[in-house]
């Protein structure tokens, strides 16, 4: 008995019962399609979060004052005045794993230009901020170290601010806007970054020298935070240790004292967020996996019923010369053909469904090649596994009994 003939026999048997074959396949189709779609959605959101974090700067480290306790009361980080300019200078000069750093102070308020006004936040930073946060200047220039030294009344504005203030399409560069009472000359416009994964508009800001914000707006000498970039994503942990060392020394903290600052990295954030989406992916895949299992049991059920229903046919085939193993192979091939065809259709349906989810719900998707391969392998295995028992039952029939079966 050669394999081509067995395939022909199985194909003809399937072609004789197209509707039943299709209904059996449906279980596998739905199973495979949902595995692919669910994994695509899970992987898509994971990737989009990773992309946004790397856009934000995946090697970014943020230092904030905090974790202080006075008389048992934990204080709001904004009230703390523990971070000083000296801390910033020491981080820059002493921490070898930190490539860039900028002090940050910020103030929220109303921006005014002509008859327009808009609420926004002024971030006081140094020019390094641009590289750390991966912003780019689209038009004009960023302010300079000189501007920082002189607390110059200059600023760089984000796209949202431009849209809100310069409604007549004026070129913002060179214009003077007001932040409260302080006039600021616009020297540059940032390239738009859009919304981040947490729904924050990354273009709704203006950047000014930190000295300007400290002295002219907030009248403070401390810093609200220090934002650093590690030399490389891989060295984030080392950089964080170095920063902690410098700060504990500068703040004269004894061994055993709590830190009076907190250090966070975007890497931690990204790990936290991706672990959430990983959990979601596993959950979705588990649900989809169950539907694949149900599909497989559907194959077993149909093959089992079909063996009983086709007992006479099996008897006939045996009487005209089919061996037990020919019958076994025929039913096994039928089961595999059903599940593999179902698998192919399922892959197509799954890919289409993913694209529809993407187009209709604007949900990020990513179809991983391995998820296609995996679900395909699973349905072939399901065909063999669930087809085996009924096929074996068929092959062991006694031709005399089978021929007499009513």
């Amino acid at each position: 008995m050669n394999v081509t003939n067995l395939f022909k026999i199985a194909l003809r048997a399937l072609a004789n019962n197209k509707l039943r074959g299709f209904l059996t396949m449906l279980g596998i189709i739905i199973g495979v399609a949902s595995v692919i779609t669910m994994l695509a959605i899970g992987q898509g959101s994971k990737r989009s979060i990773q992309a946004q974090i790397s856009e934000m700067g995946s090697n970014m480290i943020m230092v904030h004052p905090g974790a202080d306790r006075r008389g048992g009361v934990r204080l709001d980080a904004a009230d703390m005045e523990t971070l000083k300019l000296q801390d910033y200078n020491d981080i820059v000069s002493e921490c070898s794993y930190v490539s860039l750093a900028t002090p940050t102070v910020n103030s929220s308020g109303q921006l005014i230009f002509g008859a327009n006004n808009t609420p926004s936040t002024v971030y006081g930073v140094s020019p390094e901020y641009l590289d750390i946060r991966r912003y780019e200047v689209e038009d004009g220039d960023f302010f300079t170290e000189q501007d920082v030294l002189t607390s110059a009344k200059v600023c760089v504005v984000g796209k949202t601010v431009v849209d809100n203030l310069f409604t007549n399409g004026e070129n913002p560069v060179g214009q003077v806007i007001r932040f409260g009472k302080i006039p600021l000359r616009v020297v540059g416009v940032l390239r738009s970054k859009g919304y981040n994964s947490m729904g924050m508009d990354q273009d709704d800001l203006i950047l000014a020298p930190y000295t300007t914000v400290q002295k002219r707006m907030l009248a403070i000498t401390h810093l609200q935070g220090i934002t650093c970039a590690a030399v490389d994503e891989r060295f984030t942990d080392q950089a964080m240790e170095e920063i902690a060392e410098v700060l504990r020394r500068n703040h004269k903290l004894q061994r055993g004292d709590d830190d009076d600052f907190t250090i966070r990295s975007t890497q931690e954030l990204s790990e936290m967020l991706t672990s959430t989406t990983d959990l979601m992916t596993v959950l979705l895949a588990a649900v989809a996996g169950i539907s694949l299992l149900v599909g497989g049991i559907g194959i077993m059920n149909i093959m089992y019923v079909s063996v009983t229903e086709r007992t006479r046919e099996i008897g006939l085939r045996m009487s005209i010369g089919a061996k037990g193993r020919d019958i076994l192979a025929q039913f096994l091939i039928e089961a595999i053909l059903i599940s593999v065809t179902g698998g192919i259709i399922g892959v197509l349906v799954g890919v289409c469904a993913s694209l529809i989810v993407n187009a209709a719900a604007h949900f990020p998707i990513y179809i991983q090649p391995w998820s296609v391969l995996l679900s395909f392998a699973v349905c072939t295995v399901a065909g063999v596994f669930f087809g085996w028992y009924p096929a074996r039952k068929a092959s062991q029939l006694d031709p005399i009994e089978a021929l007499r079966y009513e």
Partner: protein, 246 residues
């Protein structure tokens, strides 16, 4: 004359619920090439068991069975399957065609289990077999689009396609009306005339008059084995049947 089938003291016992049933109690006969033998007997006479044995579907408890010179008794399941595929053509009472399958595909079926036959040869031989039973114009008809007589012709073509040593017919006219029965008998007589060896198992004594030899069974014994010197012509019988308005 060449021996096709030789049975030597065939016994077949079945064990049913602790009791032993002796279905065949020492059956011996020889069938030569070109004979048209009817095997007759009432139910319980061992007719079916004998047919299963002759068809290599079953093996005797004792005794020897030679089919075309090959001893069957000691053969394994798979070897018997191959032997059936090459040497035997079955015709059943209920046709046993594959549902929703065309005549050609039904006839091709035995050759599908023979790896020595190519696809082209398979189809060519199936068409030849169908032509020889008078169904050259029904090649692509599906089994559910045919009458009982046509289906039985397809079944006979299927039995012929592997050029078997012997054709085994089990009540092949049992499900057909009188007229169609005679048409099928005509076909069997034609095959006989062309030199085919045919064994026709039936409980209908009329059929025996159209065959060349008649073996009668009762209680597992052969009680009569007679040559029929006056074989009736099924063609004449068909001509004498009253024409029913259709």
């Amino acid at each position: 004359m060449k021996e096709i089938i030789r049975l030597e003291n065939i016994r077949r016992d079945f064990h049913v619920g602790g009791e032993t049933v002796h279905a065949l109690r020492g059956v011996s006969f020889t069938i030569y090439e070109g004979e048209f033998v009817t095997i007759m007997g009432t139910s319980g006479s061992g007719k079916s068991t004998l047919l299963n044995t002759l068809g290599c579907l079953d093996t005797p408890t004792s005794g020897e069975y030679y089919l075309d010179g090959v001893s069957v008794r000691t053969m394994g399941k798979n070897d018997r399957a191959t032997l059936r595929n090459r040497k035997i053509g079955f015709v059943f009472q209920n046709y046993n065609l594959l549902a929703k399958t065309t005549a050609v595909e039904n006839v091709e079926l035995p050759l599908l289990y023979n790896p020595n036959v190519t696809a082209a040869e398979r189809r060519e031989r199936a068409i030849r077999a169908l032509t020889s039973v008078g169904l050259a114009d029904r090649l692509e008809h599906r089994s559910n689009q045919m009458s009982g007589g046509q289906m039985q012709r397809v079944a006979i073509a299927r039995a012929l396609v592997n050029d078997p040593a012997v054709i085994l017919a089990d009540e092949a006219t049992g499900n057909l009306d009188t007229r169609t029965s005679f048409e099928i008998l005509v076909l069997f007589q034609e095959l006989h005339a062309r030199g085919r060896t045919i064994i026709f198992v039936t409980h209908n004594p009329d059929i025996a008059r159209y065959s060349s030899r008649n073996i009668q069974l009762r209680d597992g014994h052969v009680i009569a084995d007679t040559q029929n010197d006056e074989v009736l012509s099924a063609v004449d019988a068909l001509a004498q049947l009253p024409v029913t308005d259709e």
